[in-house]
Symmetry: C2
Subunit: 355 residues, 2 copies
């Protein structure tokens, strides 16, 4: 059977002041769709497999969040990690849980907080991927045609040949490159051989277990060759011994049976205000507005106003204006990296005020 694993353990504060450690991006309606990113991802997965075959892995502290946002989940569908150790343990934990129920399962692993455009194509691509891994002992990654030399994404280089003679959008992977400098990213794009790594992986459980056994034996031992998984206290002890390792570093960059299916859907990891701006619909003056905002002589702004508040904005060009959780932020779009400083300044102030 097909199973979906949704990775929902992010603690990102890049969307501060909207996202905060106790309520990170996947639990927010960043896109202004009326659904949180997790809810949208769940709904998308429910078109690929039975609802009860969707497993969400998150941090222990967010398990309640998940249950609040997605009603009616069975215990095996929400897994809380006691510690953050990267995507490799996260996927192993989900895979081990699924292995106990369906040892021959096909797994679609997706992040909980990315944006997908043209969902019909997404479904088609994923069905093709599932079909492929059910016939061939491969690990499939999904690659997205890059539209600009982004330096915040991972890039997948495809081999020149097709993986299968009759299939055009499937190639063996040559290299993975995480967050290249812009000049390198430009060369990547010019070559026509590189794709953005969408963080979506499709593989069967036997292939997955084989990969862990070969490349991440400690994790394999812990999750697939022991009964240490329960009780939860044992899990915490187990996790505390793991190194932090991503699935890309731990397996994709090591394994020789990784193929890339070049996606036909639109995608963004929506990791930053700037990427949200880029994927948002905008008015004729380039303003991407969520919530009630009146703009005058205002251009190229990203405006995010919560329900119950009205904004009146005059004479701004290229700013982020966001208000949430008792904080108003006004910041030039090109100075978004200041957000970490903003957040820490405000946090420090709040700490001092409490004393």
């Amino acid at each position: 059977m097909i199973w979906c694993v949704i990775m929902a353990g992010g603690v990102g504060s890049r969307f501060w002041p909207l996202s905060q450690t106790d309520n990170p991006k996947q639990f927010l309606d960043i896109m202004g769709t009326g659904r949180t990113m997790l809810q949208t991802t769940f709904r998308r997965c429910a078109e690929l497999c039975p609802r009860e075959n969707i497993v969400i892995v998150t941090g222990d502290q967010y398990v309640d969040h998940v249950h609040e946002q997605i009603g009616d989940l069975q215990p095996h569908q929400v897994l809380g990690e006691p510690l953050r150790r990267g995507t490799a343990p996260c996927i192993a934990y989900a895979a081990a849980t699924i292995a106990g129920l369906d040892p021959e399962a096909t797994l679609i692993v997706v992040p909980s907080d990315h944006a997908i455009f043209r969902e019909e194509r997404f479904k088609d691509d994923l069905r093709q991927a599932v079909d492929t891994v059910q016939r061939h002992p491969w690990i499939l990654t999904l690659g997205v045609q890059p539209v600009n030399p982004a330096t915040t994404y991972g890039y997948i280089q495809r081999g020149k040949k097709n993986s299968l003679p009759e299939v055009k959008n499937l190639h063996p992977v040559t290299t993975f490159t995480e967050k290249p400098p812009v000049e390198m990213a430009r060369q990547f794009i010019a070559s026509g051989e590189f794709y953005w790594n969408a963080g979506i992986f499709v593989w069967t459980l036997p292939v997955l277990q084989e990969a862990y056994k070969k490349h991440l034996p400690t994790l394999w031992e812990a999750f697939f060759n022991s009964t240490l998984l329960t009780p939860h206290s044992a899990l915490e002890q187990l996790y505390s011994q793991f190194d932090t390792v991503s699935i890309d570093q731990g397996i994709m960059e090591q394994a020789s049976n990784v193929h890339v299916l070049t996606a036909s859907f639109g995608w963004s990891d929506v990791e930053t205000w700037e990427s949200l701006y880029n994927v948002s619909s905008r008015d004729s003056r380039g303003n991407a507005i969520q919530g009630d905002a009146f703009t005058y002589d205002t251009r190229n702004c990203l405006i995010d106003i919560p329900d119950g508040t009205t904004a009146v904005i005059d004479g701004l060009d290229g700013y982020i204006v966001a208000t949430a959780n008792g904080t108003l932020m006004i910041c030039p779009r090109h100075r978004e990296e200041m957000i970490f400083r903003f957040a820490s300044d405000v946090e420090l102030k709040q700490l001092i005020d409490k004393k």
Copy 2:
């Protein structure tokens, strides 16, 4: 005895979104002092006369506001006008009320929503004014040395001679000019004969009644020669028959016994965000900040953030950032006249949303 009349009937929306029709400026802590403007004015008056000699005239709809902000007032101390008809009926109403208690009273009439700096000098000036009108049958206005060619103030031209040979800061008034064009205002200042009209008047009840009888006989008839004042329903009928007339137009510009005492205190009518900016203390980058705000690369801004909100502002120069009553406003300081449009756009939207 000395009495103070505080005119608190303004409905101004120039400080939108802070001030709104149901909570205008005099009831707000616009200056960030911890007291509303009315409270500050009341406290100032209480140094000039007994507390129970302070009479506040406001709109009917604001009578409760006054009682909430100034505790322990007797009925004669809060007068609600049923309609807005300008300062001439307002002062007549207060004067008639006081006349019933103290026919020989000396009245100090002050607006409720102006800022006074150097309060000791204010007290000295007012004591001098009281002393003068108790010896001479004059109407005294207070004139403030202009510091710039403001086009939003009234100007008082003084005669060249002193009113009294031994007193330097007291002159007969030659002309009143309301809101002159900037070129005229420049000439006024250059001449050295013009002062800003602070809207503060000092006179005895007999002189006041004489002035109303001569220049505003309808108001004199209504307030000083009848018993129509009560009940309240009669007052509404009465007011509905009045023309709207200011004390400046109705009496000051007509009477020949008006003198100006040139004030030694600092003053602003704080009628606009810009005038608030001008009278506010600022940080080394020219930011006038009320509330919790962190600024980065930000200059010459006026920032007004309510309790419970923190603002983080990066890269603004010369803006007003104000949030209140569920509305966030960001607007260049030099575009402040847009506020009326903002307010009406937001109001219209709220009306439509309700339907």
